[in-house]
Symmetry: C2
Subunit: 407 residues, 2 copies
Amino acid sequence: MDKQWIIDTIGQFAKIGIGEKGITRLAFSDEEQQAKEYATKLMQQAGLVVRVDAAGNVIGRLEGTAEDAKVVLTGSHLDTPPDGGRYDGVVGVVGGLAAIKELMARGPLDNHVELVVFSAEESSRFGYATIGSKAMVGLANPAMWNRAKDQDGMSLNEAAARLGFSFADLKDAIQDAEKIKAFVELHIEGGPLLERTQHSIGIVEAIAAPTRLRIVIDGQAAHSGSTPMDERQDALVSAAMIVLAVQEIALGHQHEGTVATVGIMRVFPNAMNVVPGRVELGVDIRGVNHSSVIDTLQDIKDAISTIADGQETPVSIEVLVSEKPVVLDDDLVLTVEGVCHELELSFLRMNSGAGHDTMNMARIVPAGLIFIPCHEGISHNIDEYAAPEDILNGVAVLTETLYKLAK
Amino acid sequence: MDKQWIIDTIGQFAKIGIGEKGITRLAFSDEEQQAKEYATKLMQQAGLVVRVDAAGNVIGRLEGTAEDAKVVLTGSHLDTPPDGGRYDGVVGVVGGLAAIKELMARGPLDNHVELVVFSAEESSRFGYATIGSKAMVGLANPAMWNRAKDQDGMSLNEAAARLGFSFADLKDAIQDAEKIKAFVELHIEGGPLLERTQHSIGIVEAIAAPTRLRIVIDGQAAHSGSTPMDERQDALVSAAMIVLAVQEIALGHQHEGTVATVGIMRVFPNAMNVVPGRVELGVDIRGVNHSSVIDTLQDIKDAISTIADGQETPVSIEVLVSEKPVVLDDDLVLTVEGVCHELELSFLRMNSGAGHDTMNMARIVPAGLIFIPCHEGISHNIDEYAAPEDILNGVAVLTETLYKLAK
């Protein structure tokens, strides 16, 4: 395994979309496209045959020799949130290619091995996550996606079309599950558990799915100097109460593996001398236990209703996304566990709080997700860091897992 | 008095900068300039001689006949916050011109009468209020103003220069206080007191001055799915606590005539799947009792310090503006009171929570401020409304006050 190549190549991707505060390669942006093109070049250099599907997923293929060969699929994504880090997604793409290069060096395999770079895994730009893998498993919803717009008013469909991907043909991106033996993704944990418990590898048993809300609070814009405190309908005061209610409710459900975050707040008119008349919030609720997520959602709705009434600021709640948690393949968990034993790497069976493309692949094929530690659990941030040793351990586990599946 | 002309002319100004959600004529914008040019045309049509000073203040003059004539000055502003209303500022400009036209009809006056349209009264665009009147009384701070930028990164100096006003020459805009007899402004209350107590006229005794803070909360951006609730440093949770603390502290100081508002909040990176890493707040504190404002400020600072420590999210506080409340001229209050008696209009002596150009003029000359009721106290908003009868009462009081001062 060419260890230096792995670390150097991750460094090369980190140059694409780099800014002062982090790396920005938003879904279906020029930067994401540039990263995909660089990945294409690397795959071709390695001898893979590369194709691109209607969702913009890039797939490189190593042909197997058996007559009944199936596809062993690995991969991850190259897009980032605004000011994201170097490792989220990239580790799985570069690690996947390094693994395939190692397998090629071992000689012909019975099964095909494919590396996929999924489009648009992050939801930051359009509010929808894992677009590429959804398209691949037939979960695309182009009508809904078409209504999603970025901050500049560009729709998801338009952004994809600008790069030459036709969402009208998304059905062509659907993979035949019969032809796929398994999917395995390598990814940084994006949480603090492995580092804190000093494990080299996380073997994911279940992935939490997001429920997402758009909340609009209507107050009454008024002059900040001449409106008495007790005559205001300050939308920001109600919004602050909602932020704290979401925090408190999530703390109460944390033992069930559920978290909730107000990640988005927009204040109108957002001027020093005007009592805020309207506030928009984006809330993200996640858990591996679906009934806990449902309970959390209901608690949040109840709290909002109480705040809206008490403050006389009407609040509307729109559920943008509500996905079920996904349980991953038991046999694959055991296979990865066996590899960790062989390589003498400490491992932890765990859940993933973050959604991943694996979540969608698991709906049609046996799927597995391998985590490596990342520093202080930081991700989606320039401070995101995975140690070279941990990355190489992860690639080694991925390599042997793919080998067992493909040989 | 041409009553229909007053109402129609206010309607003409309302067309400039009109959008779906209100009227937007920001400080030193093309829209403010267009409104000033329309006012210039109206002044010239009325027979006034119009000049423009280095701060962009437009001044129309009616010549007095006495050898020792002084200037009796009236006026207001034509800029608005984003999505503002029809009456804030405009009533004082149109009403001032209507009053002068009425005085002209009564024949020559001993003193000169001038109508001023002050530049940039609202702070929404650059964070500094009453720019034009500050320049006129020698309170300009072009070095500080030069650092102020709007949301598009344009500095206040650049915005003024783009319209042909040179802030390098601001000293030329300073008026000689010896030559001015008095300043009187007519304005909507922008608060609910007159309507609620059913008075036609408010006679302002003191004007609250703003203290303004920029607060930056530094948390730790993190993945919203994989970061446990109890390991977060969520800047928005701290910000929400600060919003509620400001509200609670201000409610406690309300009986002293002090109010406080969080009007601005910006969240970074403001994405659905990222725990907010940084939040910026803009806080506006106002009162007519300076020691109450100071106490409120200290209480807010103390609360922020406690929140910053408890949440492990460092907070920095920058005092952008801290102005002293202004007490207006006693004699002018009595003069206006006398006019109200003569016209048989109910009046209320009161304070102004909002800042006005009068505040600056009062530093160098005897100054008075006349309020008319506005519906539900709403201003800085498309729903801002002053009844034609109330406007005409205000213009009548202004006319007679100017007449007593100028005859």
